[in-house]
């Protein structure tokens, strides 16, 4: 009796590689298709992850220490602030609060100008936001002074006509030094500038605003109540302070106040990842599909071209499954090589994009590891139909059709 034909794995690999490289140019082009698809997928997942991570690290520190308290806006009802003027002092007593300060817009009429103005040809009057704040504002928004000083409680209590200006205002009014306490006009009133802000981490509108003490605004502009409170907390205390602040500020009706914290950074990261992902994953998927069709097409063409070879192999003892296996493996190999190349290219793209943006590249370890498997699976699936076609050929017909 005769034992069955066999086609060992080593022979399968050898014959498949030989088959692939009998047409190297075509194989390489086909492999590129898959490489492109896999590369896009890897790069997409990596860049989304990297960007998401970047957002988190950048906003983490700031976001986890920030609370903003505002009156609940009630449609219809007149917006009546229940925030007390000593909000900053009250909140500072809470454990976990680093600094707290009120901030309100001051309704001024008239423009702002430097005094004296000496250049009639240039514009000298400007429109800037004017705010009233308590003394701790700078710490609450994590700001720094370029020169001079921020006002203190004494200024507020005495309703001194002093102001601190943002760098944009200083620039327009041509003020660089405050040691002489230069005067500016807000409408018809004269204020002394005692400091220029350099930078703020929060509330960037302060950079182009004029800020006066609460007491001054109450006295000169009849400011009724503070509009909002900015709180800087120790890291991680923001959620807790957000719960406590309304009660501390308005024990009788805390419901009228709303404390907002920055969105949970993990949520932000997820949103970013999903945004980037959904777009490019679709792109990568389509590329991969096109790559798969490319493989299927090339393997099919190669089956048709190699009909004579198929007939020969059948004559040499190959069973149908051996023929199918060989073409399937050639297809799988193209997908696998494409997957490896794509994974490498994708990782390089992530590193490149990160280097360019000075980010830390982040990638789930399974992504580059799974990529070749994805490529191989694509090749395998693409090879099914051509391989079955090859296997279904009758040996005589194959020998007759091909040379």
């Amino acid at each position: 009796m005769i034992a069955g034909s066999r086609f060992s794995f080593v022979d399968l690999v050898g014959e498949s590689i030989a088959g692939l490289f009998s047409r190297p140019g075509r194989a390489i082009l086909t492999i590129l298709g898959t490489a492109l698809g896999v590369g896009t997928l890897v790069a997409t997942l990596g860049i989304a992850k990297t960007a998401g991570n970047q957002i988190v690290t950048r906003f983490d520190a700031l976001a986890q220490t920030e609370v903003l308290v505002e009156p609940v806006s009630q449609p219809g009802a007149r917006r009546q602030s229940v925030i007390p003027w000593d909000a900053g002092a009250r909140l500072s007593r809470l454990n976990g609060v680093e600094a707290a300060a009120t901030l309100s817009q001051v309704p001024v009429d008239g423009l702002i100008s430097a005094v004296p103005f000496n250049d009639p040809l240039r514009q000298t009057e400007f429109s800037f936001n004017v705010y009233a704040a308590s003394a701790d504002l700078l710490a609450s928004v994590r700001g720094t002074m370029a020169t001079g000083r921020f006002f203190d409680e004494g200024h507020s209590n005495r309703a001194d006509p002093v102001a601190v200006i943002g760098p944009a205002v200083a620039n327009r009014l041509n003020l660089t030094r405050v040691d002489q306490q230069p005067a500016i006009k807000i409408g018809e009133r004269i204020f002394s500038v005692i400091g220029i802000i350099e930078e703020v981490a929060r509330e960037p509108s302060l950079l182009s605003a004029v800020v006066m003490p609460d007491g001054t605004a109450r006295e000169l502009y009849d400011l009724g109540a503070p509009a909002e409170v900015h709180i800087d907390t120790v890291i991680g205390a923001n959620q807790l302070i957000a719960r406590q602040a309304p009660i501390a500020l308005a024990p009788n009706n805390p419901d009228l106040l709303e404390a907002r914290t920055a969105r949970d950074p993990r949520e932000v990261r997820q949103v970013v990842e999903e945004d980037v992902n959904s777009l490019f994953l679709v792109l990568g998927g389509i590329t991969l599909l096109v790559g798969a069709i490319g493989i299927a097409n090339v393997v099919l063409v190669s089956v048709i071209e190699r009909i004579g070879e198929i007939g020969l192999r059948r004559a040499l003892g190959a069973g149908r499954r051996h023929i199918a296996r060989q073409f399937l493996f050639e297809s799988l190999l193209m997908g696998l090589i494409g997957g490896v190349i794509g994974a490498s290219a994708g990782v390089l793209a992530i590193v490149g994009a990160s280097a360019y943006n000075q980010w830390t590249p982040v990638l789930d370890a399974w992504v580059p590891l799974a990529a070749p498997a994805v490529g191989a699976a694509v090749g395998l699936i693409a090879g099914v139909y051509p391989s079955l076609r090859a296997a279904s050929l009758e040996p005589v017909d194959a020998l007759r059709a091909g040379v």
Partner: protein, 238 residues
């Protein structure tokens, strides 16, 4: 697997290697082609038979049936006494791989592989241990006088050299039945002579059962036994 050489065995009472009983092959074209009609043929172990006949008479069709590449439309084909119509696809493939060697009219060499590779590929499906394949291939190539062309690609070889590569491939795995379709079809008389001598050697020394298709009178005359096919009908010539 090399068999003892029962030189010059006629179709005798011993059981034949190949036995066709009332075999017909009809191709389902319109109109149908009766390529073989009620063929009866017995070939004994170690016999050397040449098959001749005009073009289109059914010689290749007969060879394909003998080689289990095709199935008869009707009739019985016994190979080693076993009815081949009982054999499934897999079994037929393994019989082809281990017992039969083919030399095709169109060579069927793999042009992207070396001569040596071509002969090695002939042994991958039939359970020949990997480390034996190369020595066997080299021995077969030496036998056909192509040891110096081992690293060539077939498309760089002359027609006669290609034919000899095909023969080396067909004998490297020591088949017991060698089926050759026009093995000297493209060759000059000197090369034909060399190849015929090789066949006679395989037959005499190795005891191969040899079936050679040819329409060359001189070639067919060298075989101890000759059968003729005309229009699918087989006749034994004396």
């Amino acid at each position: 697997m090399t068999l003892q050489a029962p030189t010059g065995v006629a179709v005798g009472p011993g059981h034949p290697v190949v036995e066709l009983i009332d075999v017909s092959r009809v191709f389902d074209t319109t109109p149908p082609v009766h390529a073989l009609r009620d063929v009866n043929l017995a070939i004994a172990d170690g016999e050397y038979v040449s098959i001749s006949g005009p073009s289109g008479s059914g010689k290749s069709t007969l060879l394909n049936l003998l080689g289990l590449l095709d199935r008869p439309t009707s009739g019985t084909y016994l190979l080693d006494g076993i009815d081949t119509s009982d054999l499934g696809d897999r079994r037929r493939a393994s019989v082809r791989g281990q017992r039969i060697g083919f030399v095709f009219q169109a060579f069927h060499l793999l042009n992207t592989r070396t001569v040596l590779d071509n002969v090695v590929v002939g042994q991958i499906y039939n359970r020949i241990p990997r480390n034996e394949r190369k020595p066997r291939a080299i021995a077969a190539l030496e036998r056909v006088g192509l040891a110096h062309r081992i690293d060539f690609r077939p498309d760089r070889l002359s027609g006669g050299e290609r034919q000899r590569v095909a023969i080396a491939r067909a004998i490297a795995h020591s088949p017991s039945l060698l089926l050759c379709d026009e093995p000297t079809g493209n060759l000059d008389s000197a090369t034909t002579e060399a190849i015929m001598a090789l066949f006679e050697d395989l037959h005499r020394v190795d005891g191969l059962t040899l079936v050679v298709i040819t329409h060359d009178e001189a070639v067919s005359a060298r075989a101890p036994r000759t059968v003729n096919i005309i229009d699918g009908l087989l006749t034994e010539s004396a």
